[in-house]
Symmetry: C2
Subunit: 339 residues, 2 copies
Amino acid sequence: MKKFFIYLVLAASINACTTKDNAHLNKAEDVEAKDQMALSSWSDSTRQLIEAWVKDVTDTSSPNFIPVPDRIAVFDNDGTLWPEQPVPNQLIFAIANLKALAPTHPEFQKDQVLKGILDGDLSPMKKAGEIGFLKLLAASHTNQTEDAFNLAVRNWADTARDAKFHKLYKEVIYLPMVELLNYLRANEFKTFIVSGGGVDFMRVWTEEAYGIPPYQVIGSYAAVKYDVVDGKPVITKTAGSPYVDDKAGKPQAIHQFIGKVPVFCGGNSDGDQAMMQYTSGSKYKSMCVILHHTDATREYEYDLKTLSGHLETALVEAKEKNWLVVDMKKDFKRIFSFD
Amino acid sequence: MKKFFIYLVLAASINACTTKDNAHLNKAEDVEAKDQMALSSWSDSTRQLIEAWVKDVTDTSSPNFIPVPDRIAVFDNDGTLWPEQPVPNQLIFAIANLKALAPTHPEFQKDQVLKGILDGDLSPMKKAGEIGFLKLLAASHTNQTEDAFNLAVRNWADTARDAKFHKLYKEVIYLPMVELLNYLRANEFKTFIVSGGGVDFMRVWTEEAYGIPPYQVIGSYAAVKYDVVDGKPVITKTAGSPYVDDKAGKPQAIHQFIGKVPVFCGGNSDGDQAMMQYTSGSKYKSMCVILHHTDATREYEYDLKTLSGHLETALVEAKEKNWLVVDMKKDFKRIFSFD
């Protein structure tokens, strides 16, 4: 992914040189040219709305100026920065890790749900509903050290490929959203992920994929336990005190982890509605962006009839509160860097 | 405090100009001169140890080089960045806020412990032990919105003065430690607070006092609740699911909030021992610093016989693991900026 970012920067530089005569650019124009380049995969109308807001709130002479320490931007992950169809990617990892752990965990074979998954049959898990899913999550994500888990995610992120796009999952990320993250950071915003996904799962690859360091990633989690084993400190992941970072859990986690009200929020489902409300309640002029998945060809088309990413009530509130709804088919010139 | 930082920078610049002839400095020497200036309140021996480690781990040609994303430095707060005697400052705030809340909380009068505190008699609280303290904490810190609580802390931080030093509490902070925070940040470390103190209490003033933003402050906390009241989003502090960020709770919280193993740790008590062990377990060459409070005249002298800041087993492990023990009387040329 580093190569990909280098490519982006190079492409932007080359474009800047070929489309404008640099000799005629003063510094301000140069900065503006680069800013526009940054959102080049967005439709003109959405790009202009985002740029207008950023220019307004970063202009010291504007009544809407936001001081740098308060420039907090939060983003959902599944369906906002990367796809969540046909199932969330973390589920793919969970199954892969269950299989990797199985040889040293004979007890998995004694559980109907886990045995089914290991035999390639997901129906016992689906039949068990939420309990089935939580069983898979517990077996694949807990009762192991932070080092072992990080390594498992690292191996998965470096090798596993998306079935539809035939790319590494960490490469199947929305190019316009990566541009938006870069654009906001270039304007001195701090970018955070606030996702229902597992925080330990995300943190391994978010810096490489999105430029977001682990301590700016907030997600669902459970308790960990500290011990000294044979003189060495060990953190072990447990299934205790789970926290689900979804719906009202998102603004609550923003308070707990960030301690400031965001001024920008990106999301794509009703699970993000509460953190958009919270963002809209900022004392500053805020901006919320909702991705509407409308492109069955280039990505997926869904809103109401889907397990992950149900989008309904947030669209109603978007109209009331003037949140920007992005029609991915119309508004994303490119969806992935490999398009 | 901004003035104070500006003063520091100015003083450093003036010193740099008067002690060295700038005309003879090349850029590397200039940087080195500034670095040394940055730890000017430390004894030469401790300053050199810290500088040697920083120079080693930030030198790309050193086998001990630490890449920038992994330069995580964690600091305890009470007794490490500001005093914790005769009682932790947060207790002073708790009593002040209990009094401020009392007129609208007649139920406080019905509780022996709270009524005692309001009448200026702490003995019922002391008699009740930990339960008494938790009663005060719950009454003064929970069942209020994040906005109301932040405002209460802000007012306290802007007006309340330390009884011994007659300065605002947020000014009674250890100058050598502020220099160390600045020095580490100048060398591209991210500085975090990992304290047993309440996170919501600290976050209001840590940016101003130490240059540490709210999202880099980790502390004890309890659950918060998100609601929409009259169309407005509201976060309310509750007493539910308390997390005590002390002892083993510190490395656990570092995993939960930062997601990386620190390479530098500053602390002053056995409560910091676990996070020093965790830091020492880093795959990189790490550094741990323990403040030993030895100066009864300029600050306080304590280690074994104290409620807060008990220091005993950490000193034993410090010898085994080569942690730097700072004798504040000998090693801090100045303790406070107003000394």
